[in-house]
């Protein structure tokens, strides 16, 4: 074969980005285990014991390297865990469930193990909101009632997420800072509302400390404020007047003019 032809073939390989899969270069006998860290957090998988070396792969869905590092710190037994970028290995082995253990011998699959797990249907998201659930307590132990009939001061609500920073929370760090720095009319309460999905009240406390928040932070345990005000985008601001009516909503803070409009205050004397 002449040199140009070799050069040509080499470049084809480079262009097409053909890589020998990790499985093919694997050790003579080993196990490849696919997991989902979010499920593992909920309940660690009871994997069969094995004397073979194991390599762990995280399904490439809803994770980043920081999530992985955090998980490995909590569960060092998964220290070999890597993200299966674009689910290439999972696709190669036709894996659609976690955990799945694949035993390989010289790159060939000799056994596949997937425990039967019962997946339940979600049942919390569409439940009716009760008046009691709209009475919330901040992390600082102040009480807030969001029932519309109750009289309360005007409020600027900042809907946020203790998972920040994450890809589904664009510019969340900057927006948290912007909310902290907002100069409000003294009659308007500044609040932060934390989404309860995948986080605990402890995470909300961490969020408060991490972002130096001095105003009240409410962990919306039942997700009722997000539902009550139809907030599906994060982070997000809602300005309520003292009747509880929405005067502004958006993914940017309300304008200074709006924030200093007299009728947002408790009284009409300003």
């Amino acid at each position: 074969m002449n040199k140009p032809l070799l050069w040509f073939l080499f470049n084809i390989l480079m262009i097409c980005n053909i890589k020998i899969t990790e499985a093919q270069t694997a050790m003579a006998h080993e196990e490849v285990v696919f997991i989902d860290i979010w499920s593992e957090y909920a309940a660690l998988s009871n994997l069969p014991k094995s004397h073979l070396p194991r390599r762990y792969f995280q399904i490439d869905m809803n994770v980043n390297t920081a999530d992985l590092a955090h998980f490995i710190q909590a569960y060092p037994q998964f220290k070999t865990l890597k993200i299966d970028k674009n689910n290439r290995l999972a696709k190669h082995f036709s894996v659609q469930k976690t955990p799945t253990v694949i035993s390989l011998k010289q790159g060939e699959v000799v056994n596949t193990y997937t425990p039967n797990t019962l997946v339940s249907l979600p049942n919390k998201e569409h439940l009716a909101i009760t008046a009691e659930q709209l009475r919330l307590t901040s992390l600082q132990n102040s009480h807030f009632d969001f029932n519309q009939s109750d009289k309360h001061p005007a409020r600027l609500l900042f809907f946020s997420d203790a998972l920040c920073p994450k890809h589904h929370l664009p510019d969340c760090v900057e927006k948290i800072k912007a909310h902290n720095q907002l100069d409000l009319n003294s009659k308007i309460e500044k609040l932060t509302i934390i989404k309860p999905f995948y986080v605990s009240i402890a995470d909300a406390h961490t969020y408060k400390q991490q972002f130096y928040i001095t105003h009240p932070v409410i962990f919306d345990k039942h997700n009722v404020l997000f539902r009550q005000f139809s907030v599906s985008e994060l982070p997000y601001w809602i300005l309520l007047n003292n009747q509880g009516n929405v005067m502004y909503r958006g993914n940017t803070p309300p304008s200074k003019t709006l924030l200093h409009t007299p009728h947002y205050s408790n009284t009409h004397s300003d």
Partner: protein, 160 residues
């Protein structure tokens, strides 16, 4: 001879580069088989795809909006939910839809659509125009997406 290989190599490079750009900008028409037993052809139609899973709480929370959009969509628009298929089964998805009376067309993905659209998070919302351009992509149901979807529905027609 060298020139011959160089020309082929250049053509191949151009072709692959062109295809890569094409793939990133234009989506070829999709043929989607739903778990309700229907086949959807997206050619020359605006298509709204929502990628989701039953274990994704953000996804479930948004479902009433998806149903509302599907109910009011224009004739030349497709609204399709794509279950990502990870730790899911078609039976489970059918049970979920039935439990909440959701009737929007739903595809149970074998991984090919997730791969094709490079989905690495749920939910993911994508709108494709009639020419196959992705005109919207977001993780959550944003105000911007709601405004675009309003334009795809009969509600949007009243505003025109």
């Amino acid at each position: 001879m060298k020139r011959y290989y160089a020309v082929i190599y250049s053509l191949l490079l151009i072709g692959l580069t062109h295809n890569a750009c094409y793939a990133s900008q234009l989506i070829k028409p999709l043929v989607l088989n739903t778990i309700q037993g229907k086949t959807i052809h997206t050619q020359n139609k605006i298509t709204y795809l929502k990628f989701w899973a039953t274990w994704c709480r953000y996804c479930i929370e948004e479902m009433p909006h998806l149903q509302k959009t599907a109910n009011t969509k224009r004739e030349q628009t497709h609204v399709v939910s794509i279950n990502v298929g990870l730790n899911q089964s078609p039976q489970l998805v059918s049970r979920f839809l039935s439990q909440y009376n959701y009737t929007f067309p739903t595809v149970f993905d074998d991984g090919s659509l997730v791969e094709r659209f490079k989905i690495t998070g749920t939910p993911t919302h994508i709108i494709i125009d009639k020419q196959g351009n992705i005109i919207h992509r977001s993780a959550l149901l944003t105000d911007e997406l709601k405004a675009k979807l309003l334009d795809l529905t009969t509600q949007g027609q009243h505003h025109e």
